[in-house]
């Protein structure tokens, strides 16, 4: 649920009283037409607040927490669990780690790429799912389970759902916001190197199984895409 325009105007006035909307858009990189449209519709996207907060040198989390629907974000958050941290490591980085452990010294291990990655949303939900999470999120927010799944498949999750998912899983609320790319790890207050430390703490067996699961999921996605591509080509060949 995006933020009410009235509350947004109020917030903007309190954090940047002297600046015009044009100035705000210029420094934050939010397109003027985009923001104007959001204001006209009465719903401002969370990402606009995040961009403006960054431009003003404020922590985006504090910016979001000024709004009623995100009031819970203020105050110290529970730190991410090791599983959440590992879920935000890209599959290729996990594979690099597997190689580095099985053939040490063969290739230098590159530094982990920053979150989010191509499947970070689904991997995050899988990392915190006790088997019943999707039903609890669906019961708490009213979203149909298949719509929730569709968002995960598209590697998307609205900020509101991300927070609701964290809440339903009883984990810190920053994980979902990082996984969806709304805020960075640093903005979430994750210590630098936290993901690398979580990765290093995995045993060889755990790491290999995890990398295998990721590869299998990737393989399924690629196979499906190839099938759909072949189907599309067939349609074009016959009817295009």
């Amino acid at each position: 649920m995006p933020l009410p325009a009235k509350a947004f105007q109020h917030w903007l006035h309190s954090v940047a009283p002297a600046m015009s909307t044009a100035d705000i858009c210029r420094i934050s990189g939010v397109k003027r037409t985009t923001l104007a449209q959001q204001l006209v519709r009465g719903k401002v996207a969370e990402s606009s607040v995040v961009s403006i907060s960054r431009a003003l040198g404020l922590n985006p989390l504090d910016g979001l927490a000024s709004f009623e629907s995100y009031a819970g974000l203020t105050g110290p958050s529970r730190p991410p669990t090791p599983a959440e941290l590992v879920s935000q490591i890209a599959t290729t980085d996990l594979l690099h780690a597997v190689i580095a452990r099985t053939a040490p010294g063969a290739t230098p291990t590159p530094a982990l790429r920053p979150a989010p990655h191509a499947t970070s949303v689904r991997n995050w939900v899988d990392a915190i799912d006790d088997g019943d999470l999707r039903h609890r999120v669906s019961a708490a927010t009213g979203i149909a389970p298949q719509n929730f799944s569709a968002q995960l498949t598209a590697n998307r999750l609205s900020p509101e759902l991300a927070v609701a998912t964290s809440r339903a899983a009883a984990v810190g609320f920053t994980g979902g916001l990082v996984a969806t790319g709304l805020i960075t790890e640093a903005e979430a207050g994750w210590p630098p190197g936290a993901r690398q430390a979580a990765l290093d703490a995995l045993s060889d067996g755990e790491l290999t199984v995890l990398a295998g699961d990721r590869l299998q999921a990737l393989g399924r996605t690629l196979r499906r895409q190839e099938q759909e591509q072949a189907q599309t080509e067939k349609i074009w060949e016959n009817l295009g």
């Binding site: 499906r224 759909e228 189907q231 599309t232 067939k234 349609i235 074009w236 060949e237 016959n238 009817l239 295009g240």
Partner: protein
């Protein structure tokens, strides 16, 4: 109302056929061009003024109407084969090109010809309205003739419907799914034409709406697929020549 529907359908069909002339000259999917041409011709023959003009040339015995039936059969057969192949519907393809399809086509074709021969067809009249008005026997024959003419298109449309709905519900690109939706609506419209005998005469306009909806949906559905293809693969004319392809060997 009916005139507007007829002329706009003709315009859409003709424009799309014309738009495909360049690609057809390059040899790309000429059959699709042929299908559009057949559909344009069919619409032309279903309109009063062109129908009478053409039928007069053919001797004024409503032979044009019989030709129209077979143009429709041909167009629907070609569309059916192509759609079934495109959507990977091997069962539908078998039902169209296999024994069942051949029997359906033969039964419909023979029934159309036989009823036509028994009619007193003198005097060009679009939709055989004047023929039906002659007497009760001719009226009944025109009714059977029309039913036989709708039988085969409805058969093909119903055979294609499951595969079309399958594509509609798939995760293929949005343009292709929109095209599948149009094809599905067209197929339902053709199938609904089987119910024409129970439509009361005062609602006769419904027949026209259903017929032209079917044609428009099919033609626009095919156009959408073409647009999707052009977007994904720009035609060779607009593509920069590939040096490897033109290099002498």
């Amino acid at each position: 109302m009916i005139e507007i529907l007829q002329w706009s359908t003709l315009a859409v069909c003709g424009a799309l056929a014309a738009a495909r002339i360049p690609s057809a000259r390059r040899g790309e999917n000429r059959l699709l061009f042929g299908i559009l041409l057949l559909m344009t011709l069919a619409i032309l023959l279903s309109m009063r003024a062109p129908y009478v003009a053409i039928d007069q040339v053919l001797g004024g015995r409503n032979l044009a109407n019989l030709i129209l039936r077979f143009i429709i059969f041909g167009a629907i057969l070609l569309v059916g084969i192509r759609v079934a192949r495109a959507f990977g519907a091997s069962r539908a393809l078998k039902l169209i090109t296999g024994r069942a399809g051949a029997v359906a086509l033969a039964v419909a074709g023979v029934a159309v010809i036989v009823t036509f021969l028994f009619m007193d067809t003198a005097g060009s009249s679009a939709g055989l309205v004047a023929v039906a008005a002659k007497d009760a026997r001719n009226a009944a024959l025109v009714e059977y003739y029309g039913a036989a003419g709708r039988l085969y298109p409805s058969y093909v449309a119903l055979v294609l419907l499951p595969a079309t709905i399958g594509v509609l519900r798939s995760r293929l690109p949005a343009l292709i799914r929109s095209a599948a939706l149009l094809l599905a609506v067209g197929a339902v419209a053709i199938a609904l034409s089987l119910l024409f005998p129970v439509i009361p005469p005062e609602l006769g306009i419904l027949r026209f709406i259903v017929n032209y909806t079917a044609v428009l949906c099919y033609v626009l559905g095919l156009a959408l697929i073409w647009i999707a293809k052009l977007r994904a693969h720009p035609s060779p004319r607009n593509r920069r020549p590939d040096p490897a392809a033109t290099a002498p060997d």
